[in-house]
């Protein structure tokens, strides 16, 4: 007998229907039918909430590392070289583009602003990248660039929610939660979905990695850069490991006595919860010990001795190695309304080497093939200047993201924007399409991965999304 809520819920559904059919003189065999009718789309795999599950078809990626660049990086200064924009610096954008256009701050009289940095071509693929991204350049042939991303939002919190939960409204499960719901976790020592933050907090806050209407076990667990890696991981002052083990042994035995009397499966689940907490007390600090990595690996990432994006990238790899399904890094630093030049320099100095190192490190361990790395923010930035000539506003009509590993083409460039980086002119990829593609790589048909809440079968991709087949190997 497996005591767990998922199974209980499942058997309860069929059993509560049993009375119904018995009373109504209907044979038992139709129960399954009714249960099907009522719970269409529930993956309904028997077993623990977090037990590993098989997706719809063989996955290319077993895990995801999402490097979320909060604040929205400027595609124009980093990825999408636009010589024409340099030429038209100071001119007004074509009026035709501005019909029905909304940015956040700037007015229609804002003039175009040429890219702030030089571009060079990298790798066999010849991807043009800003001079601020030399490290990414070195791994360009392992990366799949999407230069034609589009989103619906122009403000940060709704934009981040759309990118991370598929909806601009609060209350929906995050991409990580969907992944965990679909695939379960492959570790019993660590949470299946871990969140690491650097720079500042993100605009949409914990809703970016929440579970929405799904069970709490699917929510991302933040690992902290300072203090306990997981909140309340440390015992109260004076309680050493032995006292803790003694206490938990007593607690377990007492709870087992309760279980014997009450027979409540939730008690069994609670016993397991406390045991996993104990395991986490050992595994989380071990995970954080980046000093155990050889110097050759540490130096790949940059300075991992202090909290920050570099250390988080290394931690992401360690988490992936330990079976964590979904790791999401939040680096909220890219909102360059002003200070564009220095802000980008600093951000790239902080993130370029570690992100590239993550790809190289995964590759040298043979993990890149089944690990999908995603890099990007909530939207792009305007080709027009905000303020005088050192800032850009929010822009949702075109931006760049990149993917690596996990079943996507390598050294591939997809999509194209117009000559000033304003609109997508070829192969648009909406956020929903990106989500559909990520789910596809994880082995899911995004239209069939559903969760019922309030009588409705919700999808990550709402009523949209298409798998971008061109990106796949």
């Amino acid at each position: 007998m497996d005591f767990n809520p998922g199974l209980r819920a499942e058997s309860a559904r069929s059993i509560s229907r049993r009375w119904f059919f018995r009373e109504c003189g209907v044979g038992l065999a139709s129960i399954a039918l009714t249960s099907l009718l009522a719970r269409a789309g529930d993956l309904a795999a028997p077993g623990r909430t977090l037990a590993p599950r098989r997706p719809h078809f063989a996955p290319k990626a077993k895990r995801v590392i999402f490097l979320f660049m909060g604040g929205a990086p400027s595609h124009i200064d980093l990825f999408d070289a636009k010589p024409e924009l340099t030429k038209r610096n100071g001119q007004l954008p074509p009026e035709s583009l501005l019909a029905g256009y909304r940015s956040a701050f700037i007015k229609p009289d804002a003039t175009l602003l040429g890219p702030k940095f030089g571009f060079s071509r990298y790798g066999q693929c010849g991807m043009e990248l800003s001079e601020l991204l030399p490290h990414l350049g070195k791994v360009a042939d392992d990366v799949c660039f999407i230069r034609s991303m589009q989103t619906d939002a122009i403000n940060h919190a709704p934009g981040q929610l759309l990118m991370n939960t598929g909806s601009m409204q609060f209350g929906r499960p995050s991409l990580g939660a969907w992944s965990l719901y679909g695939l379960g976790s492959e570790t019993e020592n660590l949470p299946g979905f871990v969140v690491l933050s650097s720079a500042k907090g993100s605009s949409a806050g914990s809703a970016n990695w929440g579970c929405g209407f799904m069970p709490a076990a699917y929510a991302g667990v933040p690992f902290r850069a300072t203090g306990d890696p997981v909140l309340y991981l440390s015992n109260p002052p004076g309680i050493d490991a032995e006292a803790q083990r003694d206490s938990l042994d007593s607690l377990r035995r007492l709870n087992e006595m309760t279980l014997a009397v009450t027979g409540d499966p939730a008690t069994q689940a609670r016993i397991e919860g406390y045991e996993m907490a104990y395991r986490l007390q050992a595994s989380a600090p071990e995970l954080m010990e980046t000093s155990r990595e050889p110097e050759s690996v540490r130096s790949m990432y940059g300075d991992v001795s202090k909290p920050g994006f570099a250390r988080n990238c290394l931690l992401a790899r360690r988490l992936a190695e330990r079976g964590v399904r979904f790791v999401q890094l939040f680096h909220e630093a890219w909102d360059q309304h002003g200070n564009l030049q220095n802000g980008l320099k600093r951000n790239c100095a902080d993130t370029d080497q570690p992100a590239a190192a993550l790809i190289a490190d995964l590759k040298q361990r043979g993990m890149l093939d089944d690990t999908l790395v995603v890099w990007g923010g909530e939207f792009g930035r305007t080709p027009m200047a905000q303020g005088t000539d050192n800032g850009r506003d929010h822009h949702n009509r075109a931006f760049t993201m990149w993917l690596a590993g996990g079943g996507v083409k390598r050294g591939f460039i997809y999509g194209q924007t117009d000559e000033i980086g304003f609109s997508v002119v070829e192969n648009p990829v909406h956020v929903h399409d990106l989500h559909a593609t990520i789910l596809h790589l994880l082995g899911f048909d995004h239209e069939r991965l559903t969760f019922r809440s309030q009588g409705r079968d919700f999808r990550l991709t709402d009523v949209a999304g298409r798998v971008v087949g061109d990106l796949l190997v």
Partner: protein, 1061 residues
Amino acid sequence: MFYDRRKRGVQSAHSPRARRACRAGAMSLFGMVSAWAAEGKGPDYIRDIRPVLADNCFQCHGQDEGSRKANLRLDERDSALKGGKTGEPAIVPHHPEKSALIERITSTDEEEIMPPVSRKHALAPAQIELLRAWVGAGAEYGEHWAFRSPRRLAPPGRGNPIDAFVRARLVREGLKPAPAASADQLCRRLHLDLTGLPPTLAELDRFNTAYRRDPEGAVNQAVDALLASPHYGEKWARHWLDAARYADSDGYEKDLPRQQWAWRDWVISAINRDLPYDEFVIEQLAGDQLPGATEAQRIATGFLRNGMINEEGAVVNEQFRIEGVQDRIDTLGKSVLGLTLQCAQCHSHKFDPIKHTEYYGLFAALNNTYERTDPVYSPEQKALIARLETQVAMLEQQLKSAEPDWPRQVETWAAEQRRAAIPWTVMSPKDFGWVDGSAHPDLLPDGSVISLGYRVPNGELFITGEPALQQVTGLRLETLTHPDLALGGPGRNHLGTFAITELVVEVREPGAKAWRKLELCHATADFADVERPLEARFRDPAKEKDREKTGGDKRRQGPVAFLADGSDETAWTADRGPALRHTDLQAVVQFAEPVTLPEGTQLRATVKAGHGGPDIRGLDANFPGRIRVALTQVPSPVADLLPADARTALARKPAERSAAENAALFAAWRACQPRFAGFSAEIQRVRDGWPLPHTTVLDLTARRPREQRVTRLLERGAWDHPGPVVEPHVPAFLHPLRPEFDTLPDRLALAKWLTDPASPTTARVAVNRTWQAVFGDGLVETPDDFGVRAPLPAHPELLDWLAVDFMEGGWSQKRLLRTILTSQTYRQSSAVSARELAIDPQNHLLARGPRFRADAEVVRDIALSVSGLLNTRIGGPSVFAPIPASAFAESYAEVDFWKIAEGAERYVRSLYVFRRRTMTDPVLASLDAPTGEVSCVRRDRSNTPLAALGALNETVFSEAARALALRTLREGGRDDRERIAFAWRLCTARLPRKAEIAELERLLAVQRERLRGGWLGAREIATGSSTVVPEVPAGTTPVDAAAWTIVARVLLNLDETITKG
């Protein structure tokens, strides 16, 4: 085309596993169908057929016209019989072989088969047979149970009707009810259910004694006593706060703290005084529209205001206002109607009969509100204000007695004032905004510009227009109040006042490129403020750091001359003081020379707001919230010296003035008379004593007739895709709006309609939610969805009986709870055998008592209560829990307001723990407390390691363990065995069994050994610090305290401690 969602339909599909199961199900269908045939009836539409159609067909053949294919509806019998655009009937009753429906679902042609292959919905053979059998039996449709008003059925037996209904079902199932719970268990259960706090040992003893004598009497008495406890309101308020998405912060990226606890306290009070549920709902929806609305009824409308507020820079206020109204409808749907209204925000509901337009009919009823922030005064403050008002009235009375012919004097003076009034022409703004676009203001019909959304710390707000006058001599800048501004405005700083650094006026003649700045002179205002340094709150800390050396922040504020003195250091402020500050104000500047404005000349007035603090979150913004510009051609114009209320009064004939207007006029008159200067100074002195409100509340009122909004249907729910105009109306499939409500304001009519006894869902939803709180699951499993896709209830007759009894019993929750808690069903033991568990894992049949982990707040309150730390203060501001510093890294905006509660304040009930939406309290969140971002009427009950870590290690839980240890040593008896019994009983309400005692004795012994041996630090464990010597009760040692702390920590984490069983 940017993106077309309409081209893509909602799809869902079945798992392969379910499909296999479905095929298995088909095998016995033959038997099923022949059984129906024998009975002469087919499958039941509601139970068997509609779920199939809903899952597979209604997407394209349901009520949503937008996505309907082939003009065919299958959700209505008439339409199905008529057929779609082919003209062929989809269903021919009794003739499956002639029915296109059956033909299409059984087709082998990939082009023909339904659902289409692209839908990825294959009908299972069993489903096909079900449909065939149904058509064969006549294809009768039926009405969804929850959309029919509940009927009171006679209970099938005597005694408590709950027991009668439940027992009747158990008999049919061949099940027996569980034996009664022990008195201990029952006592604890009652306490946790009614007050959310465990019983004290004295209460346990009393109950046990009474129960032995007379179980019925004891239960009745306990229920009555607990219902009368003020803690009852705290426990049950929490359930409603979930539904009402209550939180103490605004949400979105800034997630600034808000004051909303006055509303929370209103809920506690309403529940404690058992405000009938219909009134409870009406007051929260439209308390302000009730005749003679009280302050409390106005505060109640805070329910609608609990949603989030986005003050991200550059947001379009209207977008988030509309999303806010949609959130209100979602909340009403989940909490009151039990319907998933949200679906109809974008299109007609796919399953439930709610149309897209009907959604906006509800929207229209909620759309015409002001989003107010109102002051709330404490009772002491109210008394003070009453005293001060009396003093002012007495002083004015003295003056009136001394000047018996004052009415004549006032009128003479008023006539003079009217004659002297300067004609002003309001300039209609052609363009307006913040120069850097950091916020987007809105234009109001009277030509004023209101700045909502982001509170710009420092910036420049401009209005450009084409003046109608040919020549102008001066400009009037009004700073106006508005109900959408906090406290009414006119400013947007914390007090509702403002500072204007400089007013710049420029013109641009037709053809000219550059703006020409006009020279301003002689500024006047209707209120003279005194010159002083800028209020400390707004000063720049960076400049203030070396105040001694540099003189600090040099900005000053005060007289209206500062408005146009060319200096960015000085600002005009006009604060009439706490009693009168929320009033319209005006300043007038003269142009050095009259300005000629050839036709087409543009004039731009720029208000520089440079006297705010540097806080980018906007907490120290200091600018006017609503401004208006007017021009005149009268030579040497000056500001009207009268306050705004007197100006309004002046415009009316004496006979038409209200008492308040007469008073305002009198006050203005007396203030203008030099001979009354003494009186006026005296009155001002009284008014200076006015208190600042001890808190504020977000609430709402109806918009003025001239500011009514027109509601439009929104395509795909998007604020910027307005469709046709929609008038307020209610969904047709529910009960009609009573004609007598027609004369009521829309929002009040909606509230009355929602709580009409004819409403099929309102009472059911309310009793179901109460039931859920007691039993863990509702009679309907989905408290937020009573629609066609909701699982059928296990006890439909009981639900209806309770709903009708609830309404007929005056919508009294206390009465409802009394009925539930005195039933034998409730009083059963919760122990379950493996066999019973297999039959009814979720206890829907109710053959045993409830058992589930208590809600987050209850778990924490149990620890506080048994340890003796609990502070039982009721209501008041929320307190900041001791959260580790690292948790604040999650926050986008700085969190400098988190002043961790110390001492007794830290130990108030968990209901009062500050809830910040984007940074949820880690302990409460780990135990499934909702974030408050959306309405939540059903909490998950998870078992994560994070919850375990919180209850083991979090600061307050650790402090509770130490306190419980000391309490046990102090009160628990002479030896460990007695103490174990004492502490165990505190935590679980029962005495420990032998094995349990042995386990704890062993734990104590081992820990004492290690403590004595120096392996563990007694001080550290017992006090949290190795340098603090624990104060232990006489006859005990620090080692005892430490060993007991370890034991207490185990006790607080026992399954039984945190479970209501």
